[in-house]
């Protein structure tokens, strides 16, 4: 299981939880796991999110690996000028 940290604004969709444990070996599975656990997260994830895995901010790659002890944070999607 991987512990995923959410930004606190998402508490309304996760029964107040800001961390969610999911079964995942990559970023895509993290996102699918989150939606499975809390379906209300689906529109947020569909609108676009980034995932930080051990400090590396992954803007789009679903195949990036995640280990059980990885530090995983869901972030709002990054863009730039």
């Amino acid at each position: 299981m991987v512990e995923v940290n959410l930004w606190s604004g998402l508490r309304d969709f996760t029964d107040g939880q800001t961390t969610v444990e999911v079964e995942a070996q990559n970023v895509g599975e993290v996102l699918r796991g989150l939606v499975k656990a809390y379906p209300q997260l689906e529109p947020v994830i569909d609108a676009g999110v980034s995932v930080a895995v051990d400090g590396k901010i992954i803007a789009s790659g679903l195949t990036e690996p995640v280990r059980p002890d990885s530090e995983v944070f869901l972030l709002q999607q990054l863009k730039g000028g």
């Binding site: 940290n5 930004w7 606190s8 604004g9 998402l10 508490r11 309304d12 969709f13 209300q40 529109p43 947020v44 609108a47 930080a52 051990d54 400090g55 590396k56 901010i57 992954i58 803007a59 789009s60 790659g61 990036e64 530090e71 944070f73 972030l75 709002q76 990054l78 863009k79 730039g80 000028g81």
Partner: protein
């Protein structure tokens, strides 16, 4: 094999300063920009824009315009695709209004005619009946209970109940217990800050030449930061297939985020489809100001606690960003960047995305971050002043470093903030004496940077030279950097590489040139494509020598046997392999397609001295130093250029530039005379220090540099001005009337 399997550090070409390959074109007037394209049979277009801030479109009568001699077509919203959803709907609504004009300058119709003059005349003959609606342009007023609603139902589910419908997105993040943190502090300061919207201010107005035939095949020539995005959006908005629209990016006369957006290309395509002729559409400067990309304006509250010895105990920020009549103000970046430079145990940030009757905000260099730095770094400066602490020592004491839990959540990888602070402290500027009337300000700044979808191709010519095709428009000299990278990897002369921005039919999808991603991501893809070429060259040499491919190495532009065991062969230079490639297996082309993740965040520290004339309220920036982590500077001169350009734009934002709306909700300063960007006589030389703390996510250690340079200036200048004037300035721009008002208020207080 990971993307970082070979980390290079002993460079021959990378780190040097060769002349840019497009230099001669650009000093002779030969370079072709957006408006420099002409086609046989071409028509000229003009857009009809709303003169109202908010109005229902009751009726559009095009008959008089159509009757004018030379007019070939008029289009309205009815000429675009129906049934779009999500961001495509938002883009179309901005490109051409449906039933409501949402801001002064919103496009309502467009005309194509045989000359630009006739098109402009015809635009005036399009008769539109409006029913004016109440409007709002200020961020705080747009959130107030009595504010007119821009669009019901625009808010997403993140918005807490009870907020005005104009609040369309919400962000809340942080960690620890800020109240406990404030209780530990010896001094807590809370302040309110406001910044006005500014425009990216590129000197080249948006321009395009487009053609769309009855066969559904289209061509677009335009100035854009991302032609693959133009292709995708145009296809959706005019209702055709993406691959049938071929887009070529012209030279681009500045973008800074503002040309990541599609405004006119779908309009030109719709007019072309109606007339079956090429259509050229060029915005006027006033259209650029009224209808394209300003930044968000902000209203912010920041509270920070500090101990007597300079430790920050807690930070809290509330950031309200107005982003025009559509969702998308980058409040989450404002929130996430605000406290990123500091290692805080207790931090809490809240963001609101607020709609108003203004043009749809667009990215501008590190969108959202400069405003956050302005508020946070002003409070830190005030804390330092009141506690009698050195501003750099305090920042060093609290600086984020590798392993720090960032204010936005995860732990930082290798970062270079401490190195920029130390370099700033060691710089002669920091210890130089100030003249009477002058004040010094410093500030840190942070930006995430970005990778993104990237595809490049590298083709060898028979004479041993190389054509590199990339899909990211060159907005700051990237063709020079890419040429250096190819020369470095292949061991050939920089001059033997020609880099082209290929059109959308030539390469796979390339994300926009944004997020400071080009030198990082296109550079990484270029390294990989060059290594692909090396592999193929080595295979040809191996075949010739009758040895294993693994027994060949590439060194100094030649294939060589890896060691004595591989056999005794004369090194084979690239040009020799290239000459016979047609007979040894065919053309040699290297390529790479990926979405590199690992852009590496970046930090900067700026030092500025400002002189305030207390009689007139006029501020002069007298000395400016930029210190920034570039990871690895491929072409140091262009890195310096990014540093200097970001600082100059920040100076304009801090001191002069602002969108001024009248009571009627119309923009009052839509030309460069009234929207005053810095001119040569406003600025000093801008000193630069390139710090190089390698990014672990890039084979050379490159970090993006384009955006971070605009993060510290607003705060650094505000701190300098406040220290010079003896009164804290909390609102941007710090124009002479604002400074005089602040001085008067302080005098009244005694």
């Amino acid at each position: 094999m990971g993307i970082n399997e070979k980390i290079t550090s002993d460079f021959k070409v990378v780190g040097t300063r060769p002349n840019r390959p497009d230099g001669v074109d650009k000093v002779t007037g030969r370079a072709k920009f957006g408006a420099d394209a002409y086609a046989p049979g071409m028509l000229h277009a003009a857009i009809v824009r709303s003169p109202h801030a908010h109005a229902r479109i009751v009726k559009i009568d095009t008959s008089k315009a159509e009757a004018l001699k030379g007019v070939k077509a008029v289009v309205t919203r009815a000429d675009f695709a129906e049934g779009l959803t999500g961001e495509n709907w938002n883009i179309l609504e901005n490109v051409m209004a449906s039933d409501t004009a949402l801001y002064d300058g919103h496009a309502v119709a467009a005309v194509a005619a045989t000359s630009a003059l006739v098109a402009r005349d015809a635009a005036k003959l399009v008769e539109i009946e409006y029913e004016q609606l109440p409007h709002v342009t200020d961020v705080d007023k747009a959130m107030a209970p009595d504010a007119p609603v821009i669009r019901e139902g625009a808010a997403d589910k993140s918005v807490p109940e009870g907020l005005h419908p104009n609040v369309v997105r919400y962000h809340d993040s942080g960690h620890g217990d800020v109240e406990a943190g404030f209780a530990e502090a010896d001094l807590v300061i809370e302040d309110h800050f406001k910044t006005e919207a500014t425009h990216q201010g590129y000197i080249e107005p948006h321009a395009c030449l487009a053609q769309l035939g009855p066969d559904g095949k289209g061509e677009v020539w335009c100035c854009t930061q991302g032609h693959f995005n133009v292709q995708k959006v145009c296809a959706a908005l005019v209702g055709t297939e993406t691959s049938q629209i071929r887009v070529t990016a012209s030279e681009i006369g500045g973008g800074f985020g503002g040309k990541t957006v599609v405004f006119i290309e779908p309009v030109a395509l719709a007019l072309s489809r109606k007339t079956n002729r090429p259509v050229k559409l060029v915005m006027s400067r006033s259209e650029v100001f009224r209808a394209t990309g300003p930044t968000a304006s902000t209203s912010m509250d920041v509270k920070i606690g500090m101990t007597k010895d300079g430790k920050i105990t807690a930070g809290k920020g509330v950031f309200r960003l107005q982003g025009g009549a559509f969702p998308g103000a980058p409040m989450e970046f404002t929130a996430m960047c605000a406290f990123a430079p500091y290692a805080l145990e207790n931090v809490h940030q809240i963001g609101y995305d607020v709609m108003s009757n203004r043009p749809k905000q667009a990215a501008y260099r590190a969108p959202g971050s400069p405003m956050a730095a302005f508020a946070v770094e002003s409070v830190i400066d005030e804390l330092c002043n009141q506690l009698g602490l050195d501003p750099i020592e305090v920042r060093l004491k609290n600086a984020s470093k590798q392993g720090t839990k960032a204010s936005f959540g995860p732990k930082f990888d290798r970062i270079g903030l401490v190195e920029t602070l130390e370099a700033a402290m060691a710089h002669p500027h920091f210890s130089a004496p100030l003249q009477p009337g002058q004040g010094r300000g410093i500030s840190c700044g942070f930006w995430f940077n970005h990778g993104g979808e990237t595809a490049v191709s590298l083709a060898l010519s028979e004479d041993g030279t190389v054509a590199l095709s990339v899909g990211t428009p060159d907005i700051g000299g990237s063709r020079a950097s890419m040429g250096q990278i190819v020369a470095e990897e292949l061991g050939i002369a920089y001059e033997s590489v020609r880099t082209t921005i290929a059109d959308t039919a030539t390469l796979g999808y390339n994300e926009i040139s944004h997020g400071s991603r080009v030198t990082y991501a296109t550079g990484l893809a270029t390294i990989k494509a060059a290594r692909d070429v090396v592999k193929k060259l080595s295979a040809r040499a191996a075949a010739k020598w009758g040895i294993d491919e693994e027994a060949v190495i590439w060194e100094d532009g030649c294939a060589k046997p890896a060691g004595p065991n591989a056999g005794e062969f004369e090194p084979l230079p690239l040009a020799k392999i290239a000459r016979s490639m047609g007979r040894t297996g065919g053309p040699i082309v290297g390529h790479y397609e990926a979405t590199p993740e690992g852009a590496g965040v970046s930090f900067a520290t700026h030092i500025v001295d400002a002189e305030v004339d207390k009689e007139t309220g006029q501020t002069k920036v007298v000395r400016y130093t930029v210190v920034q982590d570039a990871g690895k500077a491929i072409h140091p001169t262009y890195v310096e250029g990014q540093f200097q350009g970001g600082a100059a734009q920040g100076i304009g934002w801090a001191l002069n530039e602002e969108y001024i709306y009248g009571e009627d909700g119309r923009l009052q300063n839509s030309i460069f005379l009234d929207y005053r960007i810095p001119v040569a006589s406003d600025l000093p030389m801008i000193d630069t220090v390139i710090v190089e703390v390698p990014n672990p996510g890039h084979p050379y250690g490159v970090r993006g540099v384009g955006e971070t340079s605009i993060c510290p200036p607003l705060a650094a200048i505000a701190n300098a001005v406040s220290n010079a004037a003896g009164v804290r300035l909390r609102e941007l721009p710090m124009s002479p009337p604002r400074i005089l008002e602040a001085l008067e208020q302080q005098a009244a207080k005694g």
